[in-house]
Subunit: 240 residues, 2 copies
């Protein structure tokens, strides 16, 4: 892991860009005397790690006493996309807009993105836990499908909050019952890209004994800010 | 309104029993220099105002800087019950246990309880707002059907959190669209007495632009304590 830039923000948080092999990432750490827990914060597929809503969540979470890291995984953010992926993304947007069946397009695009993302998150986790000032336990926040795979594959994940979850690849829908860590599952009631009933069915399917659903009005990007604070208290209950 | 007892609790909250005509009630107030907002906290039908879970919620909410009041409405708690009501309660319990259709029994029991409860809550609200140290705005917490009726009838209610809501009388299900105050709607995912889909349909029906759903695992009385704190923060956002 190689740090390529470093900036002290006005809330005291240290923001560092890093690379780990081909993986570009950002790490936010609070001013703290003792090692802090770590949150892996994954944006839903395709959005760049520098997207302002993700950055705001990450900084707020860091000020609560967490190290927070995000990466661009293959085909996402600023990583190169294949012509086939670009075509699949265009097909998916069109299908969502026109109401055509989108499941197969989604599966062919997002299934492989998840498969490629998870090993990179695990490599990043190894590297982050080797840094001074970062202890455990480890939480996960964000992209539902990647989170399901990671929570099942990775015993170091102790709690997770997922967002949306109406569209999730088949493999992860089937794996949901194997997720057993405490969960906070956040959805937007009228999310234009995530059918409500599918999201509720997924919430129902998780194997976790302790799971909480939060739903708010509005579309995909309308989540109210207080949910970021609620997520922070969820981490406080399980990671501190 | 006549105070019949007064006790200073170890968290600094003043707990006073009162009567208002035939209505018995309890008022919890924090140590505060300026007038505080008021929360009307109504237990789901039948349970007494001294029920420990209600008292714990009320005391916690008072320590956050709220006056909190509860009353036993007609046919509830320690108020006299008619022989017909006792029979209907027994029939309802049997129907819930055996899975017989319970809607008509529920309607005939709870419909009238709600109709009688709401004017008493309004009279109590008048009396409470006349006390020194209690200002506005006013929130409502608890019994869904009473809360719907009260939020529609009573412009002084500025925000409300409802619990359960699988079984709600027809009149209040129909009125739900007229509720427009900010809402926090809390349900237990496997509430044995409140069918999940009906509760979700009710949440969908509310007219409020700002409404949030919280759901947790387990049965009717399994709500985790952190939801009391979440409700407190909901009040803080809307009543302070």
């Amino acid at each position: 892991m190689r740090f390529t830039s470093e900036k002290r923000l006005d809330d005291g948080v240290l923001e560092r860009e890093f690379t780990l092999g081909e993986i570009p990432g950002t790490l936010w750490t609070p001013e703290a005397a003792a090692p802090v827990p770590l949150i892996l914060m994954a944006h839903n597929n395709g959005l760049p790690k520098g997207q302002p809503r993700l950055v705001a969540r990450a900084r707020h979470t860091a000020t609560r006493g967490y190290a927070v890291a995000t990466i661009d995984t293959p085909g996402c953010g600023d990583r190169p996309r294949s012509a086939a992926d670009e075509q699949a993304r265009a097909d998916l947007r069109r299908a969502m807009r026109t109401g055509e069946p989108a499941d197969e397009i989604f599966e062919s695009l997002v299934g492989p993105l998840v498969d490629k993302a998870v090993p990179e998150w695990q490599a990043t986790l190894d590297a982050l836990l080797a840094l001074p000032g970062i202890g455990g336990p480890v939480g996960y926040s964000g992209w539902t499908a990647v989170g399901i795979r990671l929570a099942v594959a990775e015993p170091r994940i102790a709690a997770a909050d997922f967002f949306a979850g109406g569209y999730v690849p088949r493999a992860q829908r089937q794996e949901a019952r194997q997720v057993t860590v405490p969960l906070l599952f956040l959805l937007q009631w009228d999310d234009e890209g995530n059918p409500r009933q599918r999201a509720l069915d997924l919430f129902d399917a998780f194997g976790s004994r302790e799971k909480t659903l939060h739903a708010n009005m509005g579309g995909h990007i309308g989540t109210p800010w207080f949910e970021v604070e609620d997520a922070g208290r969820f981490y406080d209950r399980h990671l501190k």
